[in-house]
């Protein structure tokens, strides 16, 4: 706010006769850019200190400086700042798009290599370092089961929690819950994995397992639900708050008890938004590697029972194949990564489309 618009100390020295301020000609920025590239190339190759990448970097800096100087001379300082910041913001965009585009391109180009029936139909059981086959069937099963169980645990718990916070909670206690849900959003996935390791795998599971701690897909589901819970609560909470008050009041006026109003009027109205939040949470959980690594153990064979023995998951499969010395492992890792990203993106896109059709709107 410090720059008041009223005083501009550096007005262009020569005021033209017309009321229009002097402006840089349209051709000026491209000319400056070309000059910057030429100078940068001359400097970099002249002193032979780098390659084309350095030329681009130096040219970008020179362009910014040149643009500022030119605009400062012709249009004045304020406009020069405006142009420079505008150029910076555009270049930030380009700068970020490059690596992200590279991620997507590599993912697709390397991922299609093993995109065949064998990959989706077999597990890694008895696949040695010299075998080109082997697939992620067991990992896909693991991911689906773990995420499914996690959703079964989280969705009712999260929605009830959000209902308490929005509809019933008063005072400090409700505030504390809201606050800690927010705080819980930031719990690292590895910590939730360690928590389930310390709680379920090391303390509870020996009870069912002849006194030995046992890894299981269910433990991974528990860890994932710790991660999903805050997301579900937050999105449900927001959606419940968007339900118009007259809707509730109408129900109360008709003599409907509060719990029935919530279940029959409020929840159905907010449902599309809640589903969106749940799907986003599932998408996030499906991509988590660390908790699965800690509490499900990972395995090469197909294990359909989530309550017993090691289970793998797609993200863990990617991690393990990436660390594998076999020359066929990277291809498997990339294809599994592509599968995982596809799964996550389908969920996310569906969630976003659903959100767009939501009548409540933000």
């Amino acid at each position: 706010m410090s720059t008041t618009v009223a005083n501009h100390p550096t007005r262009p020295p020569a005021q033209p006769a017309t009321l229009r301020a002097r402006r840089l000609p349209k051709y000026a920025p491209p000319v400056i850019a070309a000059a910057a590239v030429a100078v940068a190339a001359a400097v970099v190759y002249g002193t032979s200190i780098g390659g084309p990448v350095l030329v681009v970097a130096v040219a970008a800096l020179l362009y910014l400086a040149g643009l500022f100087a030119a605009a400062n001379a012709v249009e004045g300082r304020r406009s020069a700042r405006n142009r420079t910041w505008s150029a910076l913001i555009h270049s930030a965009f380009v700068l970020a798009v490059l690596p992200l585009a590279s991620v997507v391109w590599t993912l697709v180009s390397k991922g299609v290599e093993r995109l065949d029936g064998n990959f989706f139909g077999t597990s890694m059981n008895n696949i040695g370092a010299r075998d080109a086959n082997g697939g992620a069937y067991h990992a896909i099963v693991g991911t689906l089961e773990q995420v499914g169980i996690a959703a079964l645990i989280t969705v009712p718990l999260g929605i009830l929690c959000a209902i308490y916070v929005v509809e019933y909670g008063r005072g400090r206690f409700a505030f504390a819950i809201r606050f800690f849900v927010d705080v819980m959003t930031g719990i690292p996935s590895i910590v939730s994995g360690l928590f389930v390791l310390a709680f379920w795998v090391l303390v509870v599971s020996p009870v069912f397992n002849d006194g030995r701690p046992g890894f299981s897909g269910f433990a991974a589901a528990l860890a994932l639900s710790v991660l999903m819970l805050p997301t579900v609560v937050r999105s449900t909470e927001e959606m419940l708050r968007l339900v118009p008050a007259p809707l509730r009041e109408g129900a109360y006026a008709l003599g409907v008890p509060k719990w029935k109003t919530i279940l029959r009027v409020v929840l159905p109205t907010a449902l599309p938004g809640i589903v969106t939040g749940v799907m986003l949470a599932i998408a996030r959980a499906a991509g988590e590697t660390a908790p699965v690594l800690l509490v499900a153990g990972g395995g090469a064979a197909i294990n359909l029972n989530p309550f017993e023995n090691n289970q793998s998951s797609l993200s863990l499969f990617v991690y393990q194949q990436a660390g594998d010395a076999s020359k066929y492992a990277p291809a498997r890792a990339w294809t599994a990564a592509l599968t995982l990203v596809t799964l996550v993106l389908i969920l996310t896109i569906a969630a976003k489309l659903l959100a767009r059709r939501n009548r409540l709107g933000r």
């Binding site: 990448v53 913001i89 929005v166 019933y168 504390a176 705080v183 819980m184 360690l194 509060k258 660390a290």
Partner: protein, 363 residues
């Protein structure tokens, strides 16, 4: 839930401030109903029209449902407390067995007969890589957010914003794989170049090998948190009241001045929230760093030599061959990470909650 309580009894109880978010109590009659219903006797109240109200049941569906939601709400607090309790319970025996100083020892060998492990290097690596990642990501992310909200054509901005949201959902293991297999090459070239021409600066010194360094880890982290910070701050920027923006422009502000005087101050709490969320994700990031860092123990500010380690990456790497004490040691390090992220999060939330009173932003 099968039974239906008498209609009139619950018509009263239902009226208690309908939705706190909207702050509209449902009229005066609702406030009257806040009096404990159980004290009312049939026909005993002198409130007009309240005659004949039957007693509220002690264990009706209303109470049951309310209790259920209360239990679910309490579960959140219980989970957070349980995380702390179980981590401490499992960490203490390992810490007792530790023959070195947990805070200062530079190394991690908890599986030996005389376990020695220290958190210092790991905590240092965690903070350093996250700080670097944010240093790189935040300006770029804010630039993109501004580009999408105020510079790009509306349609393009929406489409690209959607794309950024999708990128925020890409799992970290994919970024780790990409960083390890692809991105390491340009980073290695860049490191060699930096070492050749700027080797006299300590952080770019050393004599190799280069590549799987703090720099690679931080850059990958930066690329990962970029979409999160971008999509959150873009949403906040889009919510700037149009009136403020138009007023700035009408006073003759250039576009940048409009952004600086109207958009950025309005969005500040949202930006802080976005950055803090990014920081939380960067601090806790496990797999991407386990795949891209060179995993060494030792406190060094050198950015380009192979090396670097973080608490989370160490847990993922060392978990496989950990014995009982080893697991306890890893849990102890996880406890430290939990505490760090908890402090960061609570600070961030406290800032946001306090700011929210002044600006009604969506943060």
């Amino acid at each position: 839930m099968g039974e239906t309580p008498p209609r009139s009894a619950n018509a009263g109880t239902g009226g208690i401030r309908v939705a706190p978010g909207h702050g509209q109590p449902a009229g005066a009659s609702a406030r009257v109903a806040e009096a404990p219903v159980s004290t009312r006797t049939p026909g005993g109240g002198d409130l007009g029209g309240g005659g004949g109200l039957p007693r509220a049941r002690a264990f009706g569906a209303e109470r049951a449902f309310r209790g259920l939601t209360l239990a679910a709400g309490t579960a959140v607090l219980v989970i957070i407390a349980a995380i702390a309790v179980f981590l401490i319970a499992k960490a203490v025996p390992a810490l007792r067995a530790n023959t070195a100083n947990f805070w200062t020892y530079e190394g991690w060998s908890p599986n030996d007969t005389a376990p020695e492990f220290g958190i210092g290097t790991l905590a240092f690596g965690t903070v350093l890589s996250s700080a670097l990642a944010l240093l790189i990501a935040v300006p770029v992310a804010l630039g993109i957010a501004l580009y999408l909200s105020h510079y790009a054509p509306r349609r393009l901005g929406t489409a690209l914003g959607f794309l950024i949201d999708l990128l925020a959902a890409v799992p970290s293991v994919v970024f780790g794989l990409w960083g390890r297999d692809i991105f390491v090459n340009p980073v290695r070239d860049f490191s060699v170049w930096l070492n050749t021409y700027f080797g006299w600066i300590p952080i770019f010194g050393g004599d190799g090998p280069f590549g799987k360094s703090i720099m690679l880890g931080s850059l990958v982290l930066a690329i990962m948190v970029l979409p999160i910070i971008t999509s959150l701050s873009r949403e906040v920027f889009l919510q700037t009241p149009t009136a403020n923006e138009e007023a700035a422009l009408a006073l003759g502000a250039t576009r940048w001045e409009m952004i600086r005087t109207a958009v950025l101050p309005y969005g500040r709490p949202g930006i802080i929230a976005a950055v803090m969320l990014g920081l939380g994700r960067a601090l806790g990031e496990t797999i991407a760093l386990a795949m891209t860092l060179g995993i060494t123990f030792g406190i060094s500010f050198n950015l380009i030599e192979n090396g670097g380690n973080t608490i989370a990456a160490n847990i993922a790497n060392a978990f496989g061959e950990a014995n009982d004490t080893g697991r306890g040691a890893l849990i102890a390090s996880g406890l430290v990470l939990f505490t760090i992220t908890l402090i960061v999060n609570i600070t961030a939330r406290a800032i946001i909650y306090r700011r929210r009173e002044f600006t009604e932003s969506a943060a």
